[in-house]
């Protein structure tokens, strides 16, 4: 009964488009391929619902209809089976499945087809954020390395090369330059594809609607898997080109001209160990910050890029996104993941950051349009 009630609830909920407009809802597809998937899923879903309602109804029916009543005859006719009937309920599901199989296999092959004239972007999965590398290609004069927000033009296929190994990093000690498995998923644009170290998976995206689409790592990748989010920002080709042009430029404020922040960034807190603010074409351990202020979010796309959030983050990042970073600043224990806290559990002998210092750093970073 409860199941039936819940099922009706689902019937009401699962028309072709349902659920929250949250930017991450596969039932509200905005991308070409997500729509293809949804168009395949919807009719088959309703077939499944019909079969389910039939069997649930049959179960309730046989239980109620043939219920033994006190004093009634308790000697039912002994049926041992019925071969034609059994052959029938073997063949009918087989036929339904055969019908379902045809469009399924067709779409599998369609989605595997190489897109024509795509924008190519390399996606690198890291614990626990995404790096996007735009290689030199038509319209992009030199490599662009950015994080957390993937910009794409509308009306054009985007081919994503999914990598968990970052060859440009090399190996340091026993830390491999390959990361763990992640899964790249923008539900409203298309289905997910795993980012497997050693494999060179690709996938394609396409949307005709400008907008912001939420993405999320969909393969458990350790402590902060839940926080490993990102956004896809789809823009008209002109706006996209403007964004590209901004990214290939040098930093708005050279690091050497950053006043107090220069010393804090390079020497006192050694941010340069993992980050760069001077060259948007190189890959480093942490997100490339050369054009940080051109983004709307930071910290795996979990937080809005505001001054307050950024100051909090610089002071104590692990309090906002849990990270394995307690030992990051200890030279004898270089194995850590993520950004350390500069105010809590700081290693003995290392400087503790003041709020004023964090604000100086944040103000500098927010100038990096």
């Amino acid at each position: 009964m409860a199941a039936l009630a819940a099922l009706t609830l689902a019937l009401a909920a699962c028309s072709t488009e349902s659920g929250p407009e949250n930017g991450q809802n596969p039932l509200r597809p905005k991308g070409t391929y997500a729509k293809d998937i949804d168009n395949l899923f919807t009719p088959i879903f309703w077939v499944a619902v019909a079969v389910g309602v039939f069997i649930l109804g049959a179960t309730i029916f046989v239980a109620v209809r043939f219920r033994h009543r006190k004093g009634a005859d308790d000697r039912p006719k002994q049926l041992h089976g019925n071969t034609p009937l059994e052959i029938g309920w073997t063949l009918i599901p087989a036929l339904i499945l055969a019908v379902i199989a045809v469009p399924t296999v067709a779409l599998i092959f369609d989605l595997a087809e190489e897109p024509a004239n795509p924008l190519e972007v390399t996606v690198v999965g890291k614990q626990w954020w995404w790096q996007f590398d735009y290689g030199k290609q038509a319209g992009i004069d030199r490599k662009i390395v950015t994080a957390d927000e993937l910009h794409i033009p509308t009306g054009r296929d985007v081919k994503l090369k999914l990598e968990a190994c970052d060859d440009s990093l090399g190996t340091t000690g026993t830390r491999p330059n390959c990361n763990v498995i992640h899964s790249f998923w923008v539900p409203e644009l298309t289905g997910k594809r795993d980012v497997v170290p050693g494999l060179h998976n690709t996938m394609k995206l396409r949307t005709d609607r400008p907008g912001t689409y939420l993405g999320q790592c969909a393969e458990y990748c350790g402590l902060s898997h839940a926080n490993m989010r990102f956004r896809v920002i789809a823009q008209s080709p002109d706006e996209f080109q403007q964004w590209v042009d901004g990214q290939v430029e040098g930093p708005a404020v050279p690091l050497s001209d950053a006043g107090e922040a220069t010393g804090l960034f390079t020497k006192k807190f050694q941010c340069t160990n993992c980050h760069t603010t001077e060259d948007s074409s190189i890959s480093v351990y942490g997100p490339n910050l050369t054009h940080l202020a051109s983004r709307t979010t930071f910290a795996s796309g979990y937080y809005e890029l505001t001054r307050a959030n950024l100051v909090r983050w610089i002071l104590n990042a692990p309090s906002m996104i849990p990270m394995e970073s307690e030992n990051c600043r200890l030279p004898e224990r270089p194995m850590c993941v993520g950004m350390p806290s500069f105010t809590e559990d700081t290693p003995p002998g290392y400087p503790v950051m003041t709020r004023a210092e964090a604000e100086a750093l944040a103000d500098y970073l927010l100038e990096l349009k």
Partner: protein, 639 residues
């Protein structure tokens, strides 16, 4: 010839053993030394219930954390540990031991045997499960820093990269791999025992096609276990050596392949799903005919469907890997093979409905749970078919839609069937009936709580909520549904409490009505003996003349197929009951299975902490246990 016999006798009566042979069959100590399949079955079932509660508490903590967006009840690290241990516990310490426990008790009774083929190996298998469970849960001790946190699936290279990489801190994967290897030893021994018992110890006349479906399904499960366990053991050893000895099976930097692990894990993992669900299918294939007072509709088809599921289960593993990039040809093939599994599964569902059709349906608690199984398992099966639509699966995999799907299969399927089986069989085990009124409360609260918990998860998944995430941001529209889910989880907990109260009061405190030998007017041999059965099960080994032999000793059919009671109904039960068991030789109790299993525990710690002392202790204890077991006769002549 007399000389040989004398020699054998002198060997078997000579006792060079350090420990005195235990004799008692009653009292607390007898439980540690027993080789009686029934006592071992009870211990398996009890252990499984204890871990059901433990895993349930873990689930409740998870649900409390997810009650609100950006929940702060648990830390990310704790959450990851809890979902890892919830999954690992439910699969290896609840699902499998529960099925093995019920089968341990009832397979020999249903085939008319006095015990399993290898009684001491049976005890050993149980104590290994206890050792493995103790080992896994000892990782919660504060100084250990090693609660498994890589997920129940333990994907590489997250789990296999050496601890110094910082990918996954702590000793979690070490405890997980070594603990699962131990549990695998236990499962393998019990599988060997079931195969040999079922094939060799059937009562005269019990041909394979007269064998109860539950026994059939356990035979299939035993074969699946036998072939699946080596695969995961290999994978676990590879992970362990990668972590601890610098092997690079799964390290792409050195030419290893992380996907190799997924192939191995799911080549075990998918048959494992059928290891878990086939016993449930077996249970309802027993209860539905009894409570409909009709034979199982299409016995042969149900049995062969079960076997077909067992075979097909080996050909679908990559449907867990549709998003990994296997290429369109491979995923098409695995999509199609996944669809194929729906066919024998559907046949079973229709045959169960055919069994109830035009029956005389007694809606006991056991029957309600069995009917609930059909309905809930069907929903789980249908969402499974949706997963074979590969492009759609790339949207659904790793979302709550999958969580909903497999809980409909494993909770709505297996656990409802298990509850149905317990209400049906526990009167045989304890000689008392469970309270039916409380039982019906148990059923309805369970059904409501279950659907409230898991049905909305379908929607969460379809609306984009990923699984294995300790928090979700506000503003994504998932909060309300998550709150519903959490409320449902607490209703399940309440329902479980009702069940435990029922068991304790009706069986433990003996408030339940006396069951008698055959409270349900049953069909199979276990109902022909006393409740509880004597140690030797049957005073005289039954001669089986037909399928549902016990039923046909009570009833015959007239020309129209209606039941006609036989005047001599149930004759051989009386003979059984009046027998005092004198002259029936049962295997003697033994302490060595427990000793040998206990030796695995220090070996496990040696492997995790890379320490010599526990290694020596473990080798000594295990070696002593196995050696003394080897020279100890199965039956003590002096007793």
């Amino acid at each position: 010839m007399t000389t040989v016999a004398d020699a054998v006798k002198s060997v078997t009566t000579h006792r060079p053993l350090v420990l005195r042979r235990p004799k008692g069959t009653t009292g607390v100590w007898s439980w540690f030394t027993t080789v009686d399949h029934k006592k071992i079955g009870i211990m398996y079932g009890t252990a499984a219930l204890v871990f059901f509660v433990v895993a349930g508490i873990e689930a409740l903590l998870i649900r409390v954390q997810l009650f609100q967006a950006n929940g702060t009840v648990l830390t990310a690290a704790q959450y990851n540990e809890l979902f890892t241990m919830h999954g690992t516990t439910m699969v290896f310490l609840v699902g499998m031991p529960m099925a093995v426990g019920i089968a341990n008790y009832f397979v020999p009774l249903m085939i008319g045997a006095r015990d399993v083929a290898f009684p001491r190996l049976n005890a050993f298998g149980f104590w290994v499960i206890v050792a493995g469970a103790t080992f896994l849960y000892s990782s919660f001790l504060p100084f250990v820093n090693g609660v498994p946190n890589g997920g129940w699936f333990g994907y590489t290279p997250l789990t296999s990269t050496p601890i110094t990489s910082g990918f996954l801190p702590g000793r979690g994967p070490d405890f997980w791999t070594v603990g699962l290897i131990m549990l695998g030893i236990g499962s393998t021994t019990s599988a060997i025992n079931f195969v040999v018992t079922i094939l060799n110890l059937r009562a005269p006349g019990m041909t394979l096609m007269r064998m109860p479906v539950f026994v059939w399904m356990m035979l299939v499960v035993a074969f699946l276990t036998l072939f699946a366990m080596p695969i995961i053991t290999v994978a676990l050893i590879m992970v362990y050596t990668d972590r601890n000895f610098g092997a690079t099976f799964f390290q792409p930097n050195f030419g290893g392949d992380p996907l190799l692990y997924q192939h191995l894990f799911w080549l075990f993992g998918h048959p494992e799903v059928y290891i878990l669900i086939l016993p449930g299918m077996g249970i309802v294939s027993e209860t539905l005919p009894v409570f409909s007072r009709k034979p199982l509709f299409g016995f042969a088809v149900v049995v062969f469907s079960g076997i077909a599921i067992g075979f097909l289960g080996w050909g679908v593993w990559a449907h867990h890997m549709f998003a990994t990039g296997l290429g369109p040809v491979a995923i098409s093939a695995f999509g199609l093979s996944t669809m194929l599994i729906a066919i024998p599964t559907g046949v079973k569902i229709f045959n169960w409905l055919g069994t109830v059709w035009k029956g005389s349906v007694h809606l006991t608690t056991s029957m309600l749970f069995s009917l609930g199984f059909i309905a809930m398992f069907t929903i789980g099966g249908l969402s499974g078919v949706l997963h074979s639509i590969v492009p759609a699966d790339t949207q659904q995999t790793d979302t709550y839609f999958v969580v909903a799907h497999f809980h409909y299969v494993l909770f709505g399927g297996l656990m409802l069937a298990v509850f149905g089986g317990l209400y049906y069989w526990l009167p045989k085990v304890f000689g008392r009936m469970l309270n039916e009124r409380l039982g019906k409360w148990n059923f309805w609260t369970m059904l409501i709580g279950f659907n409230l918990t898991f049905f909305p998860m379908h929607m969460l998944g379809l609306w984009g909520m990923p699984r294995r995430t300790y928090r979700y941001d506000s503003g994504l529209g998932w909060e309300g549904v998550n709150q519903l889910v959490t409320v449902g989880a607490f209703i399940i907990a309440f329902s479980t409490l009702l069940f435990l109260v029922n068991v304790i009061v009706s069986l433990g405190l003996k408030r339940g009505a006396v069951a008698g030998n055959d409270p349900w007017d049953g069909r199979t041999l276990e109902w022909s003996t006393t409740s509880p059965p004597p140690e030797y099960n049957f005073a005289e080994v039954p001669e089986v003349e037909s399928r549902d032999d016990w039923w046909h000793r009570k009833y015959t059919e007239d020309d129209e197929g209606r039941l006609v009671p036989l005047p001599s109904g149930g004759a051989y039960a009386a003979a059984s009951a009046s027998h005092d068991g004198h002259g029936i030789h049962m295997p003697s109790p033994s302490i060595y299975p427990l000793v040998a299993a206990a030796g695995l525990l220090p070996l496990g710690y040696a492997a995790v902490f890379m320490s010599w002392i526990p290694l020596f202790i473990g080798v000594l204890v295990l070696g002593f246990g196995v050696y003394a077991w080897g020279i100890e006769p199965a039956t003590d002549e002096a007793s």
